[in-house]
């Protein structure tokens, strides 16, 4: 069962891609690009999901996909016109389909009422004249039975390029007796399967196919091994046998074909209504009789379109000729080729239209762990190279010497390798972005707004470690933009705007970081209200004068919420401060700009990777520490008059009219018992996640460096005040400072026995 599970996992992965294609195609249609290719791609996506789901017996998913597909098929064949309303319906249907897929995967449940309602809507859209309660369009098979008991594949019908199953053949009705028999035959299909060796090579298995067939109804399988050569001539990897299966099913030809969806092209397949027609037998006989094994030739001879069983199929010959008993080769052989000649074109074209995935580039799937390992190794290479360079420097070797020049080249190569390896793990932000259109639709529905999402820069690449963490902040910002940013359609009309608001989500690279922008064209931030709420909630003091920008940034304060009524979507006051904190935890920053009446823009900037970090290397009490550059506002050498003692032991630093608590890093981390005078060291002005500032005192600054982040927890545990570790050029471990933890440690501050004073400065 494990193997099946593994295939299932692959199926769901494909489903995700297909759902993304589906949504992408529908969005393209929404933008007015509804050419045949797009519609076909959309149809293919749904069809493939349905096909795969059928193989795994995921009934609800198959049923819904089928209804969906039927509508798309009608759209594809221009039976119904494409309208914006229809596209909107299709988009909503794609959401329900996605729910079905998740549910089938065991993630969440489908609201069956919603699904049923959607299915009903789809049916009405497919056939507006049908009563809503009309049977599902699965009823193809019965229709066949009623209308066309026996079908003649007339030659003129064969050049029809539309290869749906709804051909319009000529029909003849035989006398009453024959018709009765034919009606019975309506539910009986003969499937002839001749696997090619490729089928086995691709690890398919006929037994599984037969098992799938048996799910459609009672089957009777007959093996024809007459092509099996004598043992000494056998090619162990070749395929020699043919099955003929009699299936009794009401589900029609399509259902049977779906069973073979995954082996398409790897076996010659004939599906005929009724008992085995004589042409089949003839065709197989011809093939068997051919002296040379000519597999290339076989398909031509055997692929008789299922729609076109020759009239002779109902003749007594069929009954008299069970497949297992080969007829003499002297049978009227010429009868078969003419029939077969009609067949190849349609039979070959159909699978191409439905089953071949879109023109994919050649892509390698690699276990992410291997890439992670490679990145680790390159990290070590970078460290090692830095170490060598440092050693060579220590020996005082001239920069123009061969050795030094070789080292320079090594450094460049190392950097290139690092960049290339990081590029392997980089992924376009698309994987996160493509989940957003649905979110926007849902939030807009829930809040009664009209919103259109415009996305830009989906192909911007960023390291996998960052991608995984982008989803939450973007979700939050988009919700916020629609819920708080956009006005209701009425308000927008009153303000002379398009009732449909536009939310723009963009990603771009800027100076070695990825920038995500979420922009709305709503009303902008109501600064007066923001200010008064902040005062009312005691977040700021009433007499404080703030710049516009400062007021805008108040919305990032913990416990701030401006929504008049608490909505389902946002407005619990945990929104933006949570976003800000999670962004800062990644070494990122978030800011907002707003213009009243015109809208707001959130700008989020993140490092491109969480595997390396830009840091300032400093010396503290003989230890080397790295302080993340993202936290550092500025560094300075304090003058004696800028340092003011406050309380028994604490002191603050005067920086341009404000007072910032001085924190001796060595003391806080217990590297030393008493701090040297700050004037002898260097002060790094840092900003914590909550926006509070502190002045960290270090002994000396070594410079700015990119360091590879190493986990402390892997072999030990989290250490307070330390975010992670890294390895420096000299091969020693240096700790990366957790600035917030250091500020907090100092605030709680047990080191100097009684020291409650340091909080005062803010």
């Amino acid at each position: 069962m494990d193997e099946l599970e593994a295939i299932k996992v692959t199926f769901f992965q494909e489903c995700e891609e297909l759902l993304a294609d589906l949504e992408g195609g529908l969005l393209a249609m929404q933008d007015g690009n509804d050419d045949g290719d797009t519609v076909n791609a959309v149809f293919r996506a749904v069809h493939s999901i349905k096909g795969g789901a059928g193989a795994f017996g995921l009934e609800p998913l198959v049923r819904f996909a089928h209804v969906f597909e039927t509508l798309l098929d009608a759209l594809r064949s221009n039976e119904i016109p494409g309208t914006p309303d229809l596209t909107a319906l299709l988009l909503r249907a794609s959401d329900v389909l996605a729910d079905h897929v998740s549910a089938a995967r065991g993630l969440g449940v489908v609201d069956m009422d919603v699904s049923a309602a959607m299915a009903a809507e789809l049916k009405i859209a497919t056939d507006p004249n049908a009563a809503p309660a009309a049977a599902a369009p699965v009823a193809e098979a019965p229709q066949y039975v009623d209308a066309a008991p026996i079908v003649i594949g007339a030659d003129d019908g064969m050049d029809d390029d539309d290869l749906g199953f709804d051909f319009q053949p000529m029909t003849i009705t035989l006398d009453a007796q024959a018709a009765d028999a034919a009606v019975l035959d309506g539910d009986v299909w003969t499937v002839s399967i001749r696997p090619k060796s490729d089928l086995y090579r691709k690890a398919n298995e006929t037994a599984l196919l037969l098992r799938e067939l048996s799910r459609l109804g009672p089957i009777q399988a007959t093996l024809d091994d007459s092509a099996l050569p004598a043992l000494e001539f056998i090619d162990p990897e070749a395929a020699y046998v043919t099955w003929s299966v009699r299936v009794e099913t009401e589900q029609g030809e399509e259902a049977i074909r779906e069973v073979f969806e995954f082996v398409d092209g790897d076996c010659d397949l004939e599906i005929t209504r009724g008992e085995a027609p004589v042409a089949d037998v003839l065709a197989s006989l011809l093939d068997i009789a051919a002296p040379a094994p000519a597999p290339e030739a076989a398909p031509v001879a055997v692929e008789i379109p299922a729609e076109a069983p020759p009239v002779s199929a109902v003749g007594p010959a069929a009954e008299a000729a069970p497949l297992a008993a080969p007829m003499p080769v002297s049978a009227p052989a010429p009868a078969a080729p003419p029939v077969a000649a009609n067949a190849p074109a349609p039979a070959a074209a159909k699978p191409a239209q439905i089953d071949v995935p879109g023109p994919g580039q050649s892509v390698i799937r690699v276990d992410p762990e291997r890439i992670d390992r490679l990145i680790d190794l390159v990290g070590e290479l970078v460290i090692n190279q830095a170490m060598l360079a440092q050693r060579v420097g220590e020996y005082g070797i001239a920069p123009s010497s061969n050795l030094a020049m070789g080292l320079d080249e090594l450094e460049q190569l190392t950097r290139e390798i690092q960049d290339s390896v990081m590029a392997i793990r980089a992924q376009p932000v698309k994987s996160v972005f493509q989940r957003m259109p649905r979110l926007v639709r849902e939030v807009a529905n829930m809040t009664g707004k009209q919103a259109r999402l415009v996305m830009d820069g989906e192909n911007t690449e960023v390291d996998k470690t960052v991608i995984e963490r982008l989803s939450d902040p973007i979700t939050h910002m988009l919700r916020n933009a629609i819920d708080h940013g956009l006005e209701s359609p009425e308000e927008r009309k009153a303000a002379g705007k398009n009732p449909e608001g536009v939310v723009r989500l963009a990603a771009l690279h800027r100076s070695g970081r990825i920038v995500i922008e979420v922009q709305d064209d709503g009303k902008g931030i109501n600064r007066e209200r923001v200010h008064s709420i902040a005062v009312k909630k005691g977040l700021i003091s009433p007499d404080l004068t703030l710049t516009d920008e400062e007021i805008d940034n108040l919305i990032f304060l913990p416990g701030f919420s401006t929504a008049d009524k608490i909505s389902d979507v946002s407005g619990r006051g945990v929104g933006m401060d949570v976003v800000k904190r999670s962004v800062q935890a990644l070494g990122g920053r978030i800011s907002i700009t707003s213009r009243p009446g015109l809208g707001s823009t959130f700008t989020l900037s993140l490092p491109l990777t969480l595997a390396v970090l830009d840091g300032m290397v400093v010396d503290v009490a003989g230890e080397t520490l790295v302080i993340p550059l993202a936290c550092i506002v500025e560094s300075l050498r304090p003058k004696a008059e800028e340092i003011r003692p406050l309380g028994p032991v604490g002191s603050v630093l005067a920086v341009r009219d404000s007072f910032v608590p001085l924190i001796d890093v060595g003391l806080t981390l217990n590297y030393r018992d008493r701090s040297p005078p700050p004037t002898e060291g260097v002060v790094l002005l840092v900003e914590g996640e909550d926006g509070s500032r502190a002045a960290l005192v270090a002994d000396a600054i070594h410079g700015q460096r990119q360091v590879v982040i190493k986990s402390l927890e892997q072999n030990y545990q989290q250490v307070e005040g330390v975010a992670a570790a890294t390895i420096l050029g000299d091969g020693r471990v240096a700790l990366i400072l957790d600035v917030d933890a250091v500020i907090n440690l100092r605030r709680r501050g047990p080191p100097p026995p009684s020291d409650p004073t340091l909080i005062a400065a803010e």
Partner: protein, 155 residues
């Protein structure tokens, strides 16, 4: 915490013995990854006294534990003969600072005695049993109890 309990089978096990102060201890050879000469470690703040810090072991950050201090004896002053034994303890790799490695022993389980009751709390906690061999007394360390449980520190 599921080390095989000491049974009286005659299976041979190999142990590496080492000196800590004037006493001899040992660990199962299967847990030992490598033995390295002493190199200075980066001090970890906010850590117990027995944590000497962390070093770079081919790109991994390896915590170094002073075994003497861990079992309650005075801290070791590292000298040129000091080594650390890199051992696998559960899912973590850790270096044990000891004074010197002395021997590889082959023992059967019947040579192993339970830890005598008189021993102090620390010893009872970290010593699985005592091996008597050629008149020497060697205590076997219970590795999975050495490292503190991972604790989620409040930030």
């Amino acid at each position: 915490m599921t080390e095989p309990t000491i049974t009286s089978s005659n299976e041979t096990r190999e142990l590496i013995s080492f000196r800590v102060g004037e006493q001899e201890y040992c660990v199962d050879i299967m847990a030992v990854r490598e033995i390295r000469g002493w190199s200075p470690a980066t001090t970890l703040p906010q850590s117990p006294a027995y944590m000497r810090g962390v070093i770079n072991l081919r790109g991994a950050v390896l915590p170094i534990m002073d075994l003497a201090a861990r079992i309650g004896m005075p801290t070791t002053e590292p000298n040129v003969r000091s080594v650390f034994i890199v051992v696998q303890a559960g899912d973590r790799t850790v270096g044990l600072l000891v004074d010197a490695v002395s021997d590889i022993l082959s023992i059967t389980d019947d040579m192993c005695q339970p830890t005598p009751d008189i021993a102090c709390e620390n010893v009872r906690h970290f010593v699985r049993g005592i091996i008597s061999i050629e008149g020497r007394m060697i205590s076997e360390i219970s590795l999975d109890r050495l490292l503190p449980e991972r604790e989620a520190l409040a930030a």
